[in-house]
Structures are given as structure tokens and as C-alpha cells.
Amino acid sequence: MPSVRSPYSDIVQHPQLFPSPARIPYPAPLPPNSPVRPRVSPIPKPTNPPASNAWQNSLNTIQSIPSGLGNVVSGLGSFFPSLGHGFAFIGDTMGGAIAGATNHKAAQARYLAAADDHYNRQSDAEDTLTSTIQGLVPGSFYDLATAAGDAAGGQGGQARRTLRSMPGNYLNAWETDPASATLNTLPLLDGGGNIFKGLGSRLTEDGIANDVAGNTTRAAVSRGLGTGFTKVGGALKYTARGGPIGQLADHGSALLTSKVVKPAITASSRAVIKAAPTIATGLHMLKDADPVLRTRLKAPSYIPSPVRPPTPDIKSNGFRPTSPQFPDRPPVNLKPPTYQAPAPAGAFSISGADVPRHPDNVSPTVIDSSPPRATFGNAPRKEYRKTYFAANPTAKGEVFVHHGAEQQILKLYPGLLTPAKVHSIENLRGILKEHNNKVHLSQIRRDWDDYYANNPDPTEDELLDQVTKTDQKYNWAYWPRK
């Protein structure tokens, strides 16, 4: 067998991400001067002359596989079918090209080399694919679970942050009408799908960024995946604070029926599924999933509609008859809710695909989204961290201290506030480090930037209005909450 060196062999591969693939045995090529000729040619003669550029097409297609991996990132749903199509195309074009090359030994050697290379790359692609699913699915389960937990009164900041950054921004619905959104199963399911898309997009960005930096595509992809895993790891880490990880498995069947995951899995090759215990488990869960949901997924009308505001008849019958996202569907015949209210922080109860819906006679334990109106006080000192930790000694090391009304207001609107007001304990907020402070601190700064643009000459009262709005928006990330 000719020695084929993969162009990616120099990259240190994580054994779990890229396990060594089993090699397909190919017949060894005959020595150049061998008197023995094979009785049956391993390469069939062509019945039709191949296109002149078939071989180049083949190689181009092979070379496109790593790029396809990068496209994990542009959505798992589109990625799996395209990968499968890519492999099929390789088979066709390669077969044609090889057939066109007749029995020539050089062509045979070239075929073996290309086939081996192709197989290596395919194996790597499948392994990466598997790892991607294994990495992302539990993370998504977690986000789904924490989102539900958060809405049910627990802690789900990580999920909220994730959802907020996703395309489609399902959190908007949550923020405008959290109680109704909590009662709705399907946004959660599609939220899961969006988490996939969003993580995928992020991976693409990382991949591209690394590519620009001069790395190979493969390295870029692996780094991108690494970033994704880090995120998942970060999310899971959050459970150390009492997140509802115990219920994650219960969400498996629900999530796997989402429009992104199911076609993705069914479009992937059996080899991938067999190689991935998580996916095998997932498919098993899919099989056992709620039959109503399975029926829906098979229906051709499974096309999500834009989010609509809650229908006015929700309160009249106690339950939302249909999802606002899927208003054309028949009502879901879910089991009666097994809601445990009020739940302590971090706790919620969901079993299988039956996400509970609040009856009206149970007050929903959503987070109090109405913190008191912001005020200013008088700071005893300029060192605001000292002031904050004196008032909240247990928060030391757990939070970043942040000003409700930014310090730069002193510079941008001189005379409007005094340093004593800006650094007063009433204007200080602690933001939990676990809540990916980089993201939401950036978002808070962006909100204030918008405020400065729209309010060139605010009053102190108007500033307090803005602080109150910010508190309402980010109270979930504060500790202690306002």
C-alpha cells in the first residue's frame, strides 16, 4: 500500500475528537516491473468516457470536506445533508475518473492514494461530526433546562444569555411575556434548535478567525469546536451553583424532535450514528418520544411561523390552546401539568416532553422582573468596591462590581451627578462572574451608549429611569438581586 501522508497529519489531534479511523484495506499495487498481471482488474473499464475534468472535480470535492466541517457552524441541519451529499458526489466523480483512467498503474496508485486520503478525511469528518453532536447536544439540553428553570423561578442566567445571543432571539418573547412563554412548550423546543444554530454560527466565526490568522482550516475547525466545548463546559459548570442538571435527561426526547436536530440526525450516515453513543441514545429517546410530537414532525406543515403575541383566550380556558409560534397546528394534548410551585431557586420539574404549563389558579413563579426604582445615595468613600463589599461581604470574589449609572456620566454630563452619588451603594450592582460577565457587561455598556445618543441632556430623574430599566433587564444577573 502506498504511504499516504495526510496534509493534516501534523496537527495534534485530540484523541477523543479525532480517534484514529480504521483503514479500509485496498489491494496493494503491483510492482512497476511485475510480470504478473491481475486476472481481474480492480478498476472497471469505463462504459462512457468521463468528463475531462472529472478527476479534478473529484479532488476539489475531497478538498471541500474540511470546509464542509467548517460549515458545522452554519447550522447542523444544513451541514449533515451537505456532507452526505459531498460524500456521495465523491464516490460518483471518483468512480468516473478512475474508470476513465483505465488500468494504468499510475492511475491505480493515484486512486489508492486519493482513496486513502479521502477515507482518512471522511473518517475525520465523521469523528468531528460525532464529537460536535456529543458536545453540543448535552449543552443544549442544559440550556433548555436552565431556561425552563429560570422561568420557573430558578437560576437560568446562562441559558438566557445564550438565547439572547441566538438568531431569532427567543428571549424577546420571554422578556415581554415571561409567564406565557413559560407555559409554552414549543418555544423551548425551537429554542433548542436555535441554540444549535447559534453555537454553530459562533463556531464558524471562530473557524474563520483562525483561518484568517493563518491556520489550516482543520485547525480552525478544531479550535472552533474547542470554543464550543468550552462554552458547553462553562454552562455545565454553572450547575455547581445548583442548576437543575438533574432534569437534563428528561429533555432529551423533546429536544431531539426539534426541526433542526431530527433531520440532521436522520441525514447523517449510519456509521456516524453507530460511532456515537450519545446519538444512539438520542435516537432511542427519539423513538420513545411523545407520539404527538413525532406526528407533528412528520407533518409537512411543520414550518415555524413568526412569533405572535399571546392569543387573548389563554386566560379563559386556563391553557394555551396552541403555541403562538405554530398557530396553525391542532391543540397539543399534553398531560396535566405537574407543576411544583413555588419552587426554590434552581429547582423545577419537567418530565419528558411534557413541559408543564401553568393553570391560571397557580401563580407562576417567574422571576420578579420589577426591581424597585433606582436611587442614589451618598458614598462614604471613592473606593466603590470597598463600599460594595462592606455592604455585601459574602459577595467578595463572586461578583464584579458595576455602577448602575456609569462613572463616565460625571464626565459626559458634568454637574448632573456628584461622585458621592455615583459611588453610593444604591448605585452599585454585583454581577455574578458565572454569568459570562464579558457578554452582558458589554451589553449593558451598549445600552448606555444608546442612551447617551438619544438623551443629550438628561435630568437626574431620567438617568434613574434608565438605571431602573437596566435593573429590570439584567436583574437576573445581579447578586444580590435588586
Binding site: 466565526e205 478567525a209 464584579f400 458595576h402 456609569e406 462613572q407 463616565q408 464626565k411 459626559l412 454630563y413 458634568p414 460577565n437 464579558k438 457578554v439 457587561l441 458589554s442 455598556r445 451598549r446 448606555w448 451608549d449 444608546d450 447617551y452 445618543a453 438619544n454 443629550p456 441632556d457
Partner: protein
Amino acid sequence: MNYYLIKPEVAGGYGDDTVCDTRPIVVHKLHYEFFGWMGDDLITSFPSFIASDRLVRLILENHLTGTAIADVKVTFSREYFSSFKKAEVPFFHWLKIEGTAGSEDFGYSPKRRLVVSEKALEVLRKVNIHQADIEPYNP
């Protein structure tokens, strides 16, 4: 030509050495203090913008109009070091916006938000502006 309203990443705010007029804010000397950085090459703190060296080079190479380049003092707050171990950011320049929205590649809208031409947006997309909000500009 199409124009786009861009709200770049807000990675920090004005430092103590900033010299500016207020109501409206007109900055004469810019001191940008990083509170955190998500990696974008174009950063703002209303109404000022700073751009990484590679972005400035691209702007100059592509002869984009409506900007002037000046020096900026860059420092890092204590909050920044709570999130990052090292103060590792690219070399930044003050990207002074001198154009008018809808007529030059970089311009201020009436509310003093950044508006860029399609050509400028293509250049911006060659660098990292992942944190920026971009929307079509309708004057």
C-alpha cells in the same frame, strides 16, 4: 449606494484624560479606557470611535472618505483585569468621523451614530466586527 447604521462594540468608556465639550459631547482629546474587550476591531464610546491598526490600514488603502486618524490614549480599568489576565489588545487609533451620513463612506447621522457606505462595510467585514449591530440606514 446603500448605507448602514453601525453600532460597534462598546469595550469601555472615557478615561480621566479625555478632554471634551458637553451638551453635545464633542471630544477634543481621547482617552479610551477598556473595561472589557470582545475582540472587535472597531470600538466605540458614544460618540467616539477607535479602530485597530489593521482596520485603519484597510481604510487608508481603500481610500474611504469621511474619517481622520488621530492618536488615542488607551488604558485598562481594574474591571478589565478582573476578566482578562493581560492587557492584550491591538494598537488602536482614534477614528474621527468627519463625514456626513449618506454622502461619504463614514459619516455621522443626525443623532451622531456611525453610518457607513456599502463599500466601507465591505472593508469592515474584512476585520472583526462580530459584536457590532448593523442595520440599513434610512435617513
